[in-house]
Amino acid sequence: MIEVKDLHKAFGEVKAVDGVSFTARDGEITGLLGPNGAGKTTTLRMLYTLMKPDRGQVLVDGIDAAVDPVAVRRRLGVLPDARGLYKRLTARENIDYFARLHGIETPTMHARREQLIDALEMRDILDRRTEGFSQGQRVKTAIARALVHDPKNVILDEPTNGLDVMTTRSMRVFLKSMKSEGRCVLFSSHIMQEVAALCDRIVVIARGRVVADETPDALRRQTGVENLEEAFVKLIGTAEGLAA
């Protein structure tokens, strides 16, 4: 479970995140929806302790990120906005590197890696160096390496960004399987369709603030608009930066 309480982060004059609070529960998919530049990536970066919030608190499974950032990262699987792989290493070596950094024993590492390879359908690229990988192959490798330690909580920053239709579909199936395994899945997106199709709970962010935190149905009721797309536009105040 990830709890976010009143997060603030400013870069000079710009208030990137200005009082964001929400909770992502286990066994649920929580979507962080907002236009480009709304503060999604900065919020997520504070969750996985890459950045320190100016104010506010992040709790992962009850552990305060400011107190014990290493323990928090141990409980998180993170697909950041930056998905750089080591291009002179094979996909397998990329995955194993992160497994070892998590201190996983070799037999466990092998078992877990095999499981992910099947789930992500990436056996054919496993022993190729990642230089020259397609966007989809890169994301798959990045996800496998982020989840190799079997984390209870999963944070994905725009996981379907740049993927083709087929890969996007299999990514959605994969997210749902993680939910059914009882994990807490939190992902950001600026694509409404995706959020609507996947999420148990939608947190809408605009200009660094949470403007709604509801189930998709409640969101429709709250805005009084049946079409979810209209609901978002009404909440955010503009359609700019959103994609259907």
Partner: protein, 391 residues
């Protein structure tokens, strides 16, 4: 600490797969300097020695004025060439290295027993000309001394009369210490080796990793950043020190190809030299690896980092040039200054002079302290938020 080892092993493996890094670190870096040395010595020394043994070609103007002198000079190794029209212009144009001109009243002065003038026309700014003039001058002096002795003997006097002081040279240099002068640039090549060896990794672990956006996922792992940095710096230091070691080995092999018996000097790089040099270079390797990483961390891109580090490479050159060209005596304080201390120690080792254990300890201790200080600064920079953000 186990995580640092994981990072270290991954960096070593990844960089060993990079052809450019491997070639720079293990081939170009350590081999280029000894190769230049061997070639320069082979060509330079051989041509110098050849010239010293070969007859000296000298166009003589007015040879008819002093046939006896010419005959004597020929015996001493002068190769008489026909007179040329404008000796001054010929020397300036490097058509002749040296020209001997004997004025018309040479014979008269000689017969009167007055100093008879001869002119040596040369160009001191041309090395070949200057050397040729020296040789010709020495031949003339030999003739001069012989004639002077004969004149004194003819008057019943001892030639010793005109030699009030007898100079006896007692050179205290050894073949090894003479080599030390020639090879005073060598420590710089070793320090450059550290730079070249560590450069690729220092950039790769900072600006490079940020440019290919792999730093953010890396930092999402449950490993404190200083442990990641420790692993990366260890890999950088290892590559740097391997380059130095290969460089030393290359020079020790190169020593065998130098015409040392002709030079009367030897480049003696043995096990003792290698071990002691590596001991003093070890903390310097870590210090420079930290420094390179620190500088590269400020760069926004790989290319920018390369530019910064290339400039940084000139910094250790400054004490090298000062120490190479200024006569100096190794002072205790020098060992306390990183880079300068290593230079002083390596130079003394090269010359075969004793280097005290206390000096080496001081050198290692001070460089280690400097490395620790730079490490703390680098760690702070590496821990900053700004470093990880790719975009």
């Amino acid at each position: 600490m186990k995580s640092s080892l994981v990072v270290f092993l991954k960096e070593v493996r990844e960089n060993l797969r990079d052809k450019r890094t491997v070639i720079n670190t293990f081939v170009t870096g350590p081999l280029i300097a000894p190769l230049i040395f061997v070639l320069a010595f082979q060509f330079g020394v051989n041509s110098m020695l050849e010239k010293a043994e070969k007859p000296l070609p000298v166009p003589v103007v007015g040879a008819a004025n002093a046939p006896d002198l010419i005959a004597a000079l020929k015996q001493l190794g002068m190769d008489q060439k026909p007179a040329i029209a404008n000796p001054e212009a010929a020397v300036r144009a490097q058509n002749a290295n040296v020209v001997l001109r004997i004025p018309a009243d040479y014979g008269n002065a000689w017969r009167r027993g007055e100093p008879a003038q001869v002119e040596v026309i040369f160009d001191a700014s041309q090395r070949d000309s200057d050397q040729a003039a020296d040789r010709l001058r020495n031949m003339l002096k030999a003739v001069d001394a012989r004639v002077a002795s004969l004149r004194l003997l003819a008057r019943g006097l001892s030639p010793a009369l005109i030699q009030p002081i007898a100079i006896a040279d007692r050179d205290q240099s050894t073949p090894q210490s003479r080599a030390g002068i020639m090879f005073s640039m060598l420590p710089y090549f070793f320090i450059i080796g550290i730079f070249i060896g560590g450069m690729a990794l220092a950039i790769d672990t900072t600006a490079g990793e940020r440019e290919r956006q792999s730093l953010e996922p890396l930092f999402a792992n449950p490993v404190p950043r200083w442990q990641i940095l420790l692993g990366k710096l260890s890999a950088t230091s290892l590559f740097a020190l391997v380059t130095v070691l290969l460089s030393i080995i290359a020079f020790s092999i190169a020593g065998h190809f130098m015409p040392s018996e002709k030079l009367g000097m030897t480049l003696d790089i043995g096990v003792r030299f290698t071990v002691l040099t590596m001991i003093v270079m070890l903390p310097l390797g870590v210090l420079l690896a930290c420094l390179q990483t620190l500088v590269a961390a400020f760069a926004r891109s790989y290319r920018e980092a390369q530019t910064y580090l290339s400039l940084l490479m000139f910094v250790p050159a400054i004490p090298t040039f000062v120490l190479a060209f200024l006569p100096y005596k190794a002072q205790a304080w020098m060992y306390a200054v990183p880079v300068v201390g290593q230079q002083a120690a390596i130079l003394r080792l090269l010359r075969g002079d004793p280097v005290g254990a206390a000096d080496i300890a001081l050198c290692v201790a001070c460089s280690t302290v400097a490395a620790a200080i730079v490490w703390v600064i680098t760690e702070r920079i590496y821990g900053s938020e700004r470093l990880a953000i790719s975009a």
